[in-house]
Amino acid sequence: MAEKIKVAVAGNPNVGKTTIFNALTGARQKVGNWPGVTVEKKEGTKKHKDHILEIVDLPGTYSLTAYSADEVVARDYILEEKPDVVVQVLDSTNLERNLYLTSQLLEMGTNLVLALNMSDRAETRGDDIDIRRLESLLGVSAIKTAANEGRGINALLDSIVNKTESNPPLPHEIGYGGRVEENICALEEILGSDRELSKNYPSRWMAVKLLEGDENALSKLSSSSIEGKVQNFLSDLDHEEYEVEMADKRYEFIGTLLPQVCTTCAEDVSPSDMVDKVITNKYLGIPIFLTLMWGMFELTFAFATPFMELIDMFFGWLAAAVTSNIETVWLASLLGDGIVAGVGSVLLFVPNIFILFFVIALLESSGYMARAAFIMDRLMYTMGLQGKSFIPMLTGFGCSVPAIMATRTLEDEKDRLITMLVTPFMSCGARLPVYILLAGTFFSRQAGSVIFGLYVLGILVAIVSAKLFRTFIAKGQPSPFIMELPPYTRPSLKDSLQHMWNQGYLYLRKVGTIIVGGVVLIWLLAYFPQGADYGSADSLIGSLGKLIEPLVAPLGFDWKIAVALVFGFVAKEIVVGSLGTLYGTGEGEALSSALVADPGFTPAIALGLMVFTLLYVPCIGAVAVIKKETGSWKWMFFQAAYSTAVAWILALVTIGVGNIVL
């Protein structure tokens, strides 16, 4: 009777694991889910010589920690099912990264066969891997494969069978040295006192995982008599420090091994790696990120000033020319006070928008934005989100609509929902005109810093809200964040200008459509009923403002601000146009002067209004996308209500503090 051999196929993502699995099993496959999780499980069989190989394809993982469902599934299968042989598929062109998983599989005491896949590519590159040396150094079997060409598959099958007939593997240990090793030994001793436990799980592996703070490993002790003793031992240790120290040692081991098996495989430290040492530094990473962000907004404000002045002068002249040359009063008012002044008040900020998008494009194409997500991962994870969520959130600096759609890249539904709900707090480009008007008017030379502060406030509110949502709405742990950082590149001026134009064009198109419509509507409401002064409290817009004024009166906002905020729901830029209409000044310096002259419009009110504009319900386009992407009216209304409530509270606090400080 043919002997059965249980085989598990492990490996990093994108190393050709599935191709190897398919080549090994042919058409005899069964696809399902691993129990309790939505991770695909593939099984197949293969008759080879006198053996029947029952092969399981484990999820692709970079390591065997317990940060993701994939890793837990892979690890638990090896620990609980104890396959006769584990085949690890490695990418021969990137051995250094792949050997990290190898080191962990060896620590688990697996009977390991390495399939060095993509060996054809490695050979083309000139890499000469000495597999005999690799086998003797690691005590494993190794086969070169090129699964896409079917090369090495028979040799791999032979090697699997031979492996089961050879002596059991010797335990492979990485010496961690110093206090780590001392603690491993002490824990091994404690674990060894529970015979059942040490029969099921390798004691040294378990000790290593416990020191790393692996909760999944700790849960395996729940029915053991030594659980309390172990917890007591672990209580004073900083697991994060141990985890980092042990990961360093594993890479040190790989660094020693690699040059012995392949002299051309060990890569020099690249300039990108060196820069990343600094940019992603535990302590300097976030300050450098904030510094660059501040620089971006300072430039956006300072360098745009002369261009804004020119646009202001042009529209001021145009509005005067229209009103003085058209005899029909209402038409002159519609064109001059309504369309020219309203559209001009928004076009005034085109230089800022273009500069902002240009700098964002530079940062993106240089590779820095990927680092920003990486830097924020630690903070984001603590607050209930994963670093990958920060990428759509960064897109939100441009526009919330594509940012919410970009959450589709998040695999976990809870992560995605939370990211969608908090992304509108990231200050989009449409809010920038409001900040520039108010910060420029009331905070002059500190305007760049005030605007920077608003963007940081948006990020903080998003992160704190994520924590709240994670605690009360979408309970659970965020998914781990693994991304390969692209190498830094010199940004292309042409591409950055193209990106700037594409994004800026969307803004200009909005001015020509939604905003023209909005300002005409505002003009109609400000002009009628006939006999009322334009934009006064007696006009329709005045009546509307008076109606909703009580809602914002506790903040110190009057009916004009209330109206501007209501129209801001159509598009945030309209807040500025509305204020221009309601103050009867149009755009630019005249509006700034009118705001300063208004005794009710203090610097504290201006700051509160900026905070409110930053945080309250996003524009109608963003709200519609939330409905579409969540597929739920409930979440749409929740986001609108929550954001407006947060805006109201924080604006109240800002104005209260501002009244004391400013």
Partner: protein, 150 residues
């Protein structure tokens, strides 16, 4: 990896001190701990956020010095990123100066009647210019390992 990094080490230390000192003075003036007129209100302005930027750059140079003192090749990486930050912020303040120049002399904007170059000649700009010189002299030290740098 063993290279003579003495020049970069001392420059990193000096730049760390210069940026940190300028940044702390700007911050102290910005929050009112020092009088705005101390030394020069133009060359060392009262600017809280701008001062914090200089402090961060100074910290990067101090870490570079620390790494150099351990003979670690990472010192070059910190010095390189520090110099890049100096150049980025030097460029930013230069562009601000250009904008001020246009506002004052071409558009004759209100508030710029008494503007002179010195008003926009801030620490990030003049230290950035000096950093440009350092970069030009030492740029070969920042090349990848296989090209003889780092």
């Amino acid at each position: 990896m063993e290279k003579n990094h003495n020049g970069l080490k001392y420059i990193s230390l000096l730049w760390g001190i210069l940026y940190m000192a300028a940044g702390l003075v700007q911050v102290a003036k910005g929050v009112g701990l020092l009088p705005a007129s101390l030394v020069s209100s133009s060359l060392l302005p009262a600017e809280l956020a701008g001062g914090l930027v200089l402090v961060v750059i100074g910290a990067v140079f101090f870490v570079a010095t620390f790494e150099f003192s351990k003979d670690s090749f990472e010192g070059s990486a910190y010095a390189y990123v520090g110099i890049l930050l100096c150049l980025v912020f030097g460029t930013l303040y230069f562009l601000s100066m250009v904008a001020d120049l246009i506002n004052a002399y071409i558009l004759a904007m209100e508030g710029y009647e008494k503007w002179t170059f010195v008003d926009s000649f801030k620490p990030a700009l003049y230290l950035g210019i000096l950093s440009g010189v350092v970069y030009a002299v030492w740029k070969n030290r920042f090349k990848p390992v296989n090209q003889g740098g780092f």
